[in-house]
Amino acid sequence: MGWENWIITSLSRSLAYGTPLLLGTLGEIYTERSGVLNLGVEGMMIMGAYSAFTITYISGNPWWGIMVAAVVGGAFSLIHAFTTVTLKANQVVSGLSLTMLGLGLSGMFGRGWEGKPLPATIPKITISHFSKIPLLGPILFVEQNLIVYLTILLVPLLWYILYRTRIGITIRSVGESPATADSLGISVNRVRYLCVFIGGVLAGLAGGYLSVAYRPAWTEGMTAGMGWIVIALTIFAFWNPAYGMLGAYLFAALYHLAFRLQPWVSPELLKAMPYAFAILVLIFVSRGTLQKRMGAPAALGLPYIRGEE
């Protein structure tokens, strides 16, 4: 019985820990699908975490905190959109600068908030009716955060939008061949702004979840590199929300196992896995047809200037 309990707890924890990874990855998938690389995810996440915490503390209502986190993440991302889409500056450098800015600002303003207890947090709920389902029941429906459920529901929604709706087709065309989209009357800039914004909102949400739901607390730098894992996971997911879910929960599980498996496998090795895997995926996909089938959006990272074909 000990084993079974252990597995259930691990998977349940993985679901919880995988949620911010998944939120961030979903957002970055949309951003990169439109052709923009956003390396500022880490900064947006931590700003989300910070804002959610402080707003929750002040207002007493964690849902306000979450909403503000989303707004803050979105606002940050608009700076990135402005520099890269409108000013056509280097996307890599813009993203990096926003990560630095986010880390610095949250560190600065967060001083003094450490250790403060929150008056209220997003509650964990247990749906006793479903929790009787063998295996899945205890994992999914016992002591899980509401946001975890919302995130899971988000996956099929975002998948559907990307692959089965008009807006999704538009987004994908902008990321693959902006010149073609432009010639058909699609506003490449507008689509990119939208997608970058979605990425920022979801990153902010991910951060807010961390500080107000997962382990309610504020510590400087509490995202601990999660934003970079998101970048790796986006590649690992082949820019597909469904695989993104797989990847996020998988690596969350690995993380959780990192501690449990310490006697046998070094935790550092497990932590390095997302990054190593991302490189392996890129190598795998670098061959001709696979590139087309599963590779990165062709226009990723390149500013679009009409007339330059």
Binding site: L37, G43, V92, L98, G107, M108, Y275
Partner: protein
């Protein structure tokens, strides 16, 4: 006669050195102003904050030396990055290359049975090679498989970080204190000499200055440098001219990774004397070096100046931590803002606004 001012925007064919300088200055000042606003919001007078920073980093001997010793890894990494960026290789991996250089040097210091006088030179060579190998991996992936250099260099940073973590928690574990893990202390022969009373490990400093000059000469006066410049300015013309993309890319990453590796050697042999946690070895030197190189407009000699500027910022961060109780992370506000304004202001280098006055009759 009334005048009406209107302006026209036209493309600027070439930005003069003076314009570039002015625009850079504007970017820095704008960043400082916005940072000042953040200080104000936080509740600290920006004037007081800047006074503290300047006094702390430049106003005392101790402050000056701290500034310089912060600048050393920035100098080395920055010079290396200018070479890579000139060839349009986006090396975001200086952080990882620095760490791998540190690992190599630590390995030699702790485990090789070399005679004492050979230890430090061997560490430098090993550190250079460690960083160079780490930099060659993404180079090979890019040239042979066409894989994006930004992602590979970035991912390798984290692999390097966890590698170091593994070493100090595992095979190279030494005594730990207060929850931080680190390796054994190096033998004395592996300690870099410092200027007495300071933490400036001068051999690395001299190495950095010499390499800055050497890289400047390389880029501007040698055949390889010519090839680097052609590839960076017009890859199609480079192909037409028969310049080998493979050889040049490998060369620049050998240099860039190697120089970052040297920075790593300097840090652990000059400051810490042991291998410790990655965030203690490098406080983001690899990333800050990107801004250093960018601000220097990829000119290795200018890096000497810009690395000093960011040395001021970093040692200013120390001061602020002590006097105002703010976390060291705060320097990232400066870094982020400066970089943001730098790239945002580049539009002024590409376009010129000229004011025309037309007289109305």
């Amino acid at each position: 006669m009334r005048g009406r001012v209107n302006f026209k925007v036209e493309r600027r064919p070439i930005a003069s050195g003076f314009t570039v300088f002015l625009v850079s200055l504007f970017a820095i000042l704008a960043a400082l102003v916005v940072a000042g606003i953040f200080f104000q919001i936080y509740g600290v007078s920006p004037i007081r904050a800047y006074q503290l920073i300047l006094r702390g980093s430049l106003g005392s001997i101790f402050g000056l030396t701290e500034t310089i010793r912060r600048a050393i890894p920035l100098l080395l990494c920055g010079v290396g990055l200018t070479v890579a960026f000139r060839a349009l290789f986006w090396n975001i991996g200086a952080e990882g290359q620095l760490l791998m250089g540190a690992v190599a040097a630590a390995g030699i210091a702790l485990f090789s049975k070399l005679p004492d006088p050979l230890l430090l030179p061997a560490m430098f060579v090993g550190g250079f090679l460690g960083g160079a190998v780490w930099g060659l991996i993404p180079a090979i992936l890019k040239v042979i498989l066409g894989i994006n250099d930004v992602i590979t260099t970035l991912m390798l940073n984290y692999i390097a970080i966890y590698f170091v973590e593994w070493l100090i928690h595992g095979p190279w574990k030494g005594p730990s204190a207060r929850g931080f893990a680190y390796s054994d202390t190096f033998p004395h022969a592996a300690w870099l000499p410092t200027i007495p009373g300071t933490r400036i490990h001068w051999p690395t400093l001299i190495l950095g200055l010499v390499l800055a000059v050497m890289m400047y000469i390389l880029i501007n006066r040698t055949k390889s440098g010519f090839e680097i410049r052609v590839i960076g300015e017009n890859p199609d013309a480079a192909r037409y001219a028969g310049i080998s993309q493979l050889k040049t890319t490998l060369l620049v990453m050998l240099i860039s990774g190697g120089l970052a590796g040297l920075a790593g050697v300097g840090e652990i042999a000059g400051i810490h004397m042991r291998l410790l946690g990655p965030s203690h070895i490098s406080m983001g030197y690899g990333y800050t070096a990107i801004i250093v190189a960018w601000l220097a407009r990829c000119n290795p000699l200018a890096v000497v100046v810009t690395s000093l500027l960011f040395g001021v910022i970093m040692s200013g961060g120390d001061v602020i931590k002590v006097s105002l109780g703010l976390p060291f992370q705060l320097i990232n506000v400066f870094n982020g803002l400066i970089l943001l304004f730098l790239i945002g202001s580049e539009i002024f280098l590409r376009y010129k606004i000229s004011f025309l006055r037309s007289l109305r009759r």
